[in-house]
Amino acid sequence: MSLHATPHPKDTVKWTTVGGVRVPVHLLIPNLPDPFMDIEDYEPDADLMVLNMGPQHPSTHGVLRVKLVLDGEVCVKVTPYLGYLHRGVEKLCEKLSYVQITPIVDKNDYVSPMMNELAINMAFEKLIGAEVPRRARYIRTICAEIQRLGSHLLWLGTFGLDMGGAIGGGGSIFMHTFRERELLLDLFEDLTGCRFHYNTHTVGGNRHDIPAGWAAKATQVLAVISKRCIEYEDFVRGNKVFQARTVGVGIIDPVLAIDLGISGPVLRASGVDVDLRRDQPYAAYDEIAVNVATDPGGDCFSRYVVRVDEMRESIRIATELLAGVPEGPICSLKPVKLPGAVKAKHGQGVYSSIESPRGELGTFVVGNTVRRQSAIPYRCKIRSPSMHLLQLLPYICPGNNISDIIVTLGSLDPIMGEVDR
C-alpha cells in the first residue's frame, strides 16, 4: 500500500480555529494575490502577454472564457468572463408553472440533472406545504447518490483529459469512467425512460416508480463500479505523473473559500468538514449515516481524493437504501395532468438547499399573491455552487504555470450551464 500513500498524511497536520471553523494551519496563505491588481503596477520592464483561453476550448468544460496575463509561462493575472451560456432560466421560471419548471431546471447542471429537480422541488414543497411519502424520499436519495456517482465519474474522466490530452495517457481514464457511466445511465433509462433529462421529480413525490427487478440490477451495477473504483485508484493515485501534475497545485485557503461561498468537495478538500447531507438532512438522509470525506491537502490531488472517497460513500449509501425501500405511494398529490394543478397559497419566500456534486445547490422561491397566477412563482433564484467556484480562479491561479491553470480549473469541476443559468 506504499504506492497509495497520500502526500498529506492526516496525522501530521496542525489545526486551528478561524471564525469558529476548524481549518488546517498550513493552508492559511498570508499574502493572497490581489485579483483586481492593475497590470501597470506589476513590473515596468516585464514583457507581458495577454492570452484568451476560450470560450471554445476543449479544457474549459463548456463555454468559459478566461483572460490570462502571462509573464513568460507564469500567469500574473486571471480574469474569468461568463455569460456565454446565459439561457434566462430564472426569468423563464417566472413564466411557467410549478409543474412545468422541473424539466427546465434539468438543463442547468447537465452532468447531474436529477439534483436540480430535487433542489427546486424541495423548495416548491416547502412553499406549498406538500408532504413527500417515505418511498419517494428513498427513491430520491438513491437517485441522488447514483447521480453523484455519475457526476464524479465524468469529472474523473475529463480531469484525465485536462492533464494528458486525448492522445496521451489522459484518454485512458476517460474511456474507463465513461464505460461505467453508461451502466448508470442504463439504470436511469429503465427508471424514467430517458438517459439524460429525466423530469422524474414532481411536487410531492416522484413520477416514476421503481420497476420490478430494478433494485437488484442497481445493486449489481453498484457492486461492479465499487470494484472498478479500486482499479481507478491503482491507475491514478500512485501514478507519478498524476502526482507531479496535481500535488501542491492550486492550493485553496479554507478561509478564503468560506468567504467566497465555496461549498462541496472543493471546500472539504481544504479540510473544512461541511456536508449538507449530514448537517441538514433532507430526503432520506436522516435515516442513514453519511461519512463525510475530507482531506487537509487543499490542492488538486486532495480534490481527487475527496471525490473518489465520495464515490465509494455514494455506492455504500445507495446500496444500503436499495435493500430497504419501503412500500407505499410515490406521490402525496394526485397525478398532475394540467400545468396549473399545483398552487401556492401565500407569497412568502422560502429557501431550500441540497448537497449537489459541486456543493450547495439552493433555491429561493417566492409565491405569487395574485390569485390568477398562484400556479406560477413570483421569483425563483437558483444558488449554484459552480458560480462561486469560478470566483476562486483570480486568487489561486496567479503564480502558476499556464498548464497548471488547466488542471486547477478541471479540479474545481465547474459546469457552465449552472454558472450562467
Binding site: Q56, V63, Y84, H86, G193, K337
Partner: protein, 240 residues
C-alpha cells in the same frame, strides 16, 4: 491503380467504384469518387459543444457507441475539421464566435445541428439571450432532434450526412433538410447489448402519452391535427 487479380474476393468499398479492364491488372475510377469516398469515411469533427448535448457527444465518442468506427475523429481546432457538430444552446453572445469558427473551417465543410436547442432554441427560443436555431446565421446540413439526442441518434445523423456527401459529390441535387416537425417523441429504443423487458417500453410509452390533455386524446384514439412542416431556408449545404 493496380489491382491484384489473385485476390478477387477482397471486399473493399473502393472496389465498387472501379472499372476492371479485362486482361489488365488495372482498374480505373474517377478522382471525384476517390475524394468522395475519402471525405465520407474520414470525417474530422469539430465538437462545438456548449452544454448538455456535448456530454452526449462525449458519450458517443466513447467505447460503447464509438464514433471512431465510422471514421470520425474529434479535433480541438476548426482548421483541421470537416464537420462541425453544434451541440447545445447557442446564445447571442456565443453566436458570433460560432460563426467565426465556422468560417475558419476549410472547404468542403458540413454542419450538424445536434439537439433541439441548436435546431430551434427549444423552450429557450423566446428568451432574450438565446438564438432560435443556428440555421438563422449559418448553414446546417443535418438536424438531429432530441433533448439531448441519444448517441445512436447522432450516429444515424452522421450516416445521413454520409449519404448527403456522396450525393452532392456525385453532382446530384439534394433537397435541403428542414427543421424537424415539433411534437412528442417516442421514448428511446432498446439498444445493443441490453436485454430489456418490452413491458417497460409499453409502460413508458403510456406514461409519456398520458402527461397532458393531448396524450389522453391520443390514448382514446383521436388523431390530433399535426402542424404543417415549415420549410426553413437553410442555405446551400456548405460546398462551393
Amino acid at each position: 491503380m493496380g489491382v491484384d487479380q489473385s485476390n478477387q474476393n477482397f471486399e473493399h468499398p473502393l472496389f465498387e467504384y472501379m472499372e476492371k479492364m479485362p486482361g489488365l491488372d488495372l482498374a480505373m475510377t474517377t478522382a471525384d469518387k476517390i475524394l468522395s469516398w475519402g471525405s465520407r469515411n474520414s470525417m474530422f469533427v469539430f465538437p462545438m459543444a456548449t452544454s448538455c448535448c456535448g456530454i452526449e457527444f462525449m458519450a458517443a465518442a466513447c467505447g460503447r457507441f464509438d464514433l471512431d468506427r465510422i471514421g470520425t475523429i474529434a479535433r480541438g481546432t476548426p482548421r483541421q475539421c470537416d464537420v462541425m457538430v453544434i451541440a447545445g444552446t447557442i446564445t447571442v453572445k456565443m453566436a458570433p464566435r460560432v460563426k467565426k469558427l465556422w468560417d475558419m473551417m476549410p472547404e468542403p465543410k458540413w454542419a450538424i445541428a445536434m439537439g433541439s436547442c441548436a435546431i430551434s432554441g427549444d423552450f429557450y427560443r423566446d428568451i432574450y439571450s438565446v438564438v432560435p436555431g443556428v440555421d438563422t446565421f449559418m448553414p446546417v446540413d443535418v438536424y438531429v432532434p432530441g433533448c439531448p439526442p441519444n448517441p445512436d441518434h447522432l450516429l444515424e445523423g452522421f450516416r445521413r450526412l454520409q449519404d448527403k456527401i456522396k450525393a452532392k459529390r456525385a453532382g446530384e441535387w439534394v433537397e435541403p433538410e428542414t427543421r424537424p416537425v415539433s411534437g412528442m417523441q417516442m421514448p428511446s429504443v432498446p439498444r445493443y447489448g441490453t436485454d430489456r423487458d418490452p413491458a417497460y417500453d409499453q409502460a413508458q410509452l403510456m406514461a409519456t402519452q398520458n402527461m397532458g390533455l393531448g396524450g389522453e386524446l391520443l390514448a382514446a384514439g383521436v388523431t390530433l391535427p399535426q402542424p404543417a412542416p415549415q420549410p426553413v431556408q437553410s442555405g446551400e449545404g456548405g460546398d462551393s
